[in-house]
């Protein structure tokens, strides 16, 4: 960041003013101060004013200590900080005047330190071997290290259970916010794993942690605060290239996210049910682990080394595609690493701090055995060629310059041509790099308001049509009126479309949650799995998103667990050792289609059939087509898994998947080819708010039947009508006898006709069972907006909801499953209220009384 001196001056003034005005109890003002300090740090770092930077860090620390109530006398500390601020201005004035800027700041820092450590509340780490002094190092140590140790404090401060009842609204919005942040962190973590060098991504992870830290501090949530603070430090180290982004590093972040989730959940239940949060989350142990990573105790794999699970690295893709040889890659990667070292020398050389000869000598020394592990800067300092200050400046400068990318090097060294690299990069891009960083501009609106708007718009459309179809108005022969009316109807329908679209959200977030899942699963199972996504921008009903999540998790789990083979087996089969799972979403004919495609071993129809026979799901002599056999996996109590692993076989079967999807009025199908993989296709209606309905009349009442359940409709001939014991009625539909349900009888409305041969029957299907519904008339097909019948009436089995019809009256949407249940009850069986609307006790199937002939 290069700023004009007067800009820096203004920032300093601004900071001073903020400091003078700030009330030590005003957390928001203090937060503002920290922000200002951070901005100044950036400025001074780029100007190379090391003492100023150190001074700023100590000021920041002091502010943080005030916020955390770790100082004895806040006012005095603020006063001290004021002195620090004027010291800062001195440094800057000297710098501007070109005088040597090295004003001694260490004495001030020590004084300020004494302010903060003397606080009674503070319980700093005073473990043996780490005397308190080391907590506040002098100017020579990097300021970050000091911060890291100080914040070990909060973890060890005895975490008093805190009362969350006080400010519910604040907590609720914090919880909502946290969940969003956590999602973005997860997505970006995976992105980071693909591209560990990407500062942008690290920043994208850093920011939400930073926000959470701030807010949790403000809300006095010490555990969340301590956790986020620690992780933030870890990320900061990575950002400044003090730490490599290793798989262990990513794991730590993801684990932190898990821990955070747990805390948020706990907090949520505490806020909802009133109560306190005080449970130990194993936080201390986790913080230890983070510390270990920071100190490099964990054998961190080199970031450049191809990760065993990634398969996503540019070099690997290029090798896999046969563009370059492995040898080439190694050479270039080695060069890539060296490039960084050379760069530091280059920077120093360019700034004229060292001579070419000095640099060459240092580089030579680095190649000798003793000094191999040392950085070029260290060697230069050791040999007395340069001041440590200058090296740290150069390193800071170096941070801004990014390492040359692998692709660039490959091209430069003629190992691969640009087109190939670009193609490979595109491959790499297919993974969510980028998409994770994009966030659309949004406004949060309460669901109730949104639903209210949709209701009112629906009403507007009806009112509009009532007006235009009014006889009196239709009698007007006024061209202008007609034009205006049609203009109005265009506007209302546009308005309706917009209102409806507000209920829709892209499926992206749901898909992105799978990235994490696949990563964890593949690690656990030792399989190599790559997840691709397609059509994440496809929009689905907001209310569907949550419901679809669990089935999706289950199916992805199945794919990894039972679909994708282990790398060894895949190799034997001549397949790519890395398995692929594709999540795809698209719109098709008024449906949202979601597909889960894997290139695993596929379903074994024979094994499924033998299993089904074993379970008594089908008769041994039954001959099933392959498709029918595959669909057996959706039967309750069916699992082809030979071993129950940690990840699947935990009870939720494909039958639950199917049920959940049917509840959304959707369908699920499976297709598979041995050794080519399995494709599961889910079809969902575009929205839950609208149902495609067939309007039927019984007597004076109109009812809406969901079109999805309707098979056909006809007027039965007398020879198709049978009775059983004079009571049960059957209709012969082609070769099958289906029970007849008199809709009027079930719903208590007077039917116009009393014999089905005079009326009409509609064949409906629910959960594989078919019945004939006797109705007076079929009035037509219409898309209707579903309205809830409210708390009091929702238990009525026969009804799925209500809807406002074109004439403004309420129409009833029938629930086919419920109708079946009731008709069983009418037939003499008892039925219970409030149970699931599933005709589970009904054994009659469509072949009842007469098999297919």
């Amino acid at each position: 960041m290069s700023l004009e001196p007067q800009d820096i001056g203004r920032m300093l003034d601004d900071f001073n003013l903020g400091l003078v005005m700030a009330d030590p109890e005003d957390l928001i003002a203090l937060g503002g101060l920290i922000e200002k300090i951070e901005k100044l740090v950036e400025v001074f770092q780029s100007s190379g004013l090391v003492p100023a930077v150190d001074l700023l860090f100590s000021l920041k620390k002091a502010v943080e200590s005030i916020i955390l109530e770790q100082v004895a006398d806040k006012e005095a500390t603020m006063e001290q900080m004021g002195q620090g601020a004027s010291l800062l201005q001195d440094i800057f004035r000297n710098f501007k005047a070109g005088i040597d800027a090295s004003i001694d700041v260490s004495s001030f820092i020590t004084t300020l330190k004494s302010q903060t450590t003397s606080g009674p509340v503070l319980t700093l780490d005073t473990s043996p071997g780490r005397p308190p002094e080391s907590v506040w190092p002098g100017t020579e140590t990097t300021p970050r290290t000091s911060e890291r140790q100080v914040v070990r404090g909060p973890a060890q401060v005895n975490l008093e259970p805190y009362d969350v009842g006080a400010d519910r609204d604040l907590f609720f919005s914090f919880i909502t916010e946290s969940i969003e942040h956590i999602q973005s962190i997860e997505v970006n973590s995976i992105t980071l794993e693909q591209d560990p060098q990407n500062l942008e991504t690290i920043n994208a992870i850093f920011r939400p942690f930073h926000t959470l830290k701030g807010v949790s501090g403000f809300l006095n949530l010490p555990q969340i605060h301590a956790l986020t603070h620690e992780v933030e430090n870890l990320l900061d180290d990575a950002r400044n290239e003090r730490l490599p982004v290793s798989p262990a590093f990513i794991d730590a972040i993801l684990d932190a996210v898990d821990l955070l989730k747990k805390m948020i959940r706990e907090l949520k239940s505490a806020v909802e049910n009133g109560g306190q949060v005080g449970t130990d989350f194993g936080l201390a142990a986790f913080l230890e682990r983070i510390k270990a990573i920071q100190q490099g105790d964990v054998p961190a794999e080199s970031a450049e080394e191809p990760s065993p699970y990634g398969g996503m690295k540019l070099g690997e893709i290029l090798i896999a595609q046969g563009m370059i040889s492995e040898h080439d890659l190694e050479e270039v990667v080695a060069n890539q690493q060296q490039a960084r070292l050379r760069q530091l020398g280059d920077i120093l050389l360019a700034s004229g701090r060292i001579s070419r000869g000095d640099l060459d000598e240092a580089l030579r020394r680095q190649l000798t055995a003793d000094d191999r592990t040392k950085m070029i800067g260290e060697i230069l300092i050791e040999t007395g060629k340069i001041q440590p200050d200058l090296v740290s400046l150069a390193i800071k400068e170096q941070e801004k310059l990014r390492e040359p990318k692998l692709g660039e090097l490959l091209i430069r060294e003629n190992q691969a041509d640009a087109r190939e690299v670009a193609a490979a990069l595109r491959e790499q891009k297919k993974f969510p790099t980028g998409t994770g960083l994009v966030t659309g501009q949004t406004v949060k609106v309460e669901t109730v308001k949104l639903d209210g708007l949709v209701d009112m718009v629906g009403e507007l459309v009806i009112a509009q049509s009532l007006v235009s179809s009014n006889d009196r108005i239709a009698a007007f022969k006024d061209q202008k009126l007609l034009r205006d009316l049609s203009h109005m109807s265009r506007i209302t329908s546009e308005l309706q479309r917009t209102a409806m679209s507000m209920r829709m959200v892209p499926i992206r977030q749901t898909f992105q949650k799978m990235i994490r899942l696949v990563r964890d699963l593949s690690r656990k199972s030792g399989k190599l799995v790559e997840l691709d996504m397609d059509g994440e921008e496809t929009e689905i009903d907001r209310n569907m998103v949550e419901t679809i999540y669990d089935p999706l998790v289950h199916m992805v789990r199945n794919s990894v667990d039972h679909g994708i083979e282990s790398p060894g087996i895949r190799e034997k089969k001549g397949k790519d050792t890395t398995g692929h799972i594709v999540l795809r979403a698209f719109h098709q004919g008024g449906n949202v289609v979601i597909q889960i495609v894997d290139d695993g071993q596929g379903l074994d129809a024979r094994r499924i059939i033998s299993k089904a026979i074993e379970r008594g799901l089908i008769a041994p002599e039954e001959h099933l087509s392959e498709t029918t056999a595959f669909n057996l996996i959706f039967q309750p109590g069916f699992s082809t898994a030979e071993k129950v692993t940690d990840v699947s076989g935990r009870g939720v079967g494909m039958d639950v998947v199917k049920k959940t999807i049917e509840k959304l009025r959707g369908k699920v199908e499976v297709a598979s080819r041995p050794d080519h993989g399995t494709t599961i296709t889910i079809r969902l209606p575009l929205t839950l708010a609208i149902i495609d309905g067939m309007i039927v009349r019984v007597g004076t009442n109109r009812y809406i039947l969901p079109t999805v359940a309707i098979r056909e409709s006809f007027r039965p001939r007398p020879q198709d009508y049978f009775t059983v014991k004079g009571q049960g009625e059957l209709i012969k539909v082609r070769e099958n006898l289906l029970p007849l349900v008199r809709l009027g009888e079930v719903l208590g409305s007077e039917s116009t006709y009393d014999h089905p041969t005079a009326a009409l029957v509609v064949v409906v299907e629910n959960e594989g069972k078919r019945r004939c519904l006797m109705v007076d008339e079929v009035l037509g097909k219409q898309e209707v907006v579903i309205k809830s019948l409210g708390e009091r009436l929702k238990h009525i089995k026969a009804l799925a909801g209500g809807s406002i019809m074109g004439d403004g009256r309420v129409g009833l949407i029938l629930d086919i499953g419920g109708l079946f249940t009731i008709s069983d009850g009418v037939g003499g069986r008892s039925w219970s209220r409030g149970g699931p609307t599933v005709a589970d006790d009904f054994e009659m199937d469509e072949d009842w009384g007469m098999g297919p002939s």
């Binding site: 009442n701 019948l789 209500g802 009256r809």
Partner: protein, 179 residues
């Protein structure tokens, strides 16, 4: 105030803890009431409960509900149930006329506020009932349930039964219990 029966004061105290829905009469307050007629009897309804008054409209019959549930109406895009108060109170059914009115009330259910329409013979007026006009509900013994009535008022020589409308519409499921 002094001539109020003591039992009423007890009710006042108890009603403070009404949240748990114990069958205790609600405190009768002086204030504005909407009065309406039902089979020649005058009833009153706290004005704050009333959301809307409208004429008879098309009601969609709902199966599997008690007879007093007339069905559903469309209240500007919202589907709300309508209850015939005559049938609910066991009064003889009467053909709906021009004067028949639906009063939309907002009642407090466990799940929050809900809107329900009640059908009455005709709406009379909104009147102020002062504390002095109020009287406690007399007990009619076992044969007559007076739970719904939180008090009576004597105004201009007429007796107005003040309804606890929340209780009228929440004590029973609106669906029929089969089985």
């Amino acid at each position: 105030m002094n001539d109020l029966p003591t039992s009423f004061e007890q009710h006042n105290v108890k009603s403070a803890t009404r949240a748990d829905m114990v069958p205790v009469a609600v405190q009768v307050k002086e204030g504005k009431y909407l009065t309406f007629e039902l089979a020649q009897e005058q009833y009153g309804l706290g004005i704050l409960k009333v959301r809307e008054i409208m004429g008879m409209m098309d009601i969609t019959h709902v199966p599997q509900t008690p007879a007093f549930v007339k069905g559903l109406i469309n209240l500007r895009g919202r589907v709300i149930p309508v209850v015939d108060l005559r049938l609910k109170f066991g009064l003889p059914e009467k053909e709906y006329t021009e004067r028949t009115t639906i009063i939309v009330v907002e009642i407090q259910a466990e799940t929050g506020l809900i809107l329900i329409g009640i059908v009455v013979d005709n709406v009379s007026e909104v009147m102020h009932i002062s504390q002095a006009d109020l009287e406690d509900t007399p007990s009619f013994g076992e044969k007559l349930k007076t739970d719904y009535i939180m008090g009576m008022a004597k105004v201009k020589g007429r007796v107005i039964l003040l309804l606890d409308i929340d209780r009228v519409l929440t004590d029973e499921e609106l669906t029929l219990a089969h089985g």
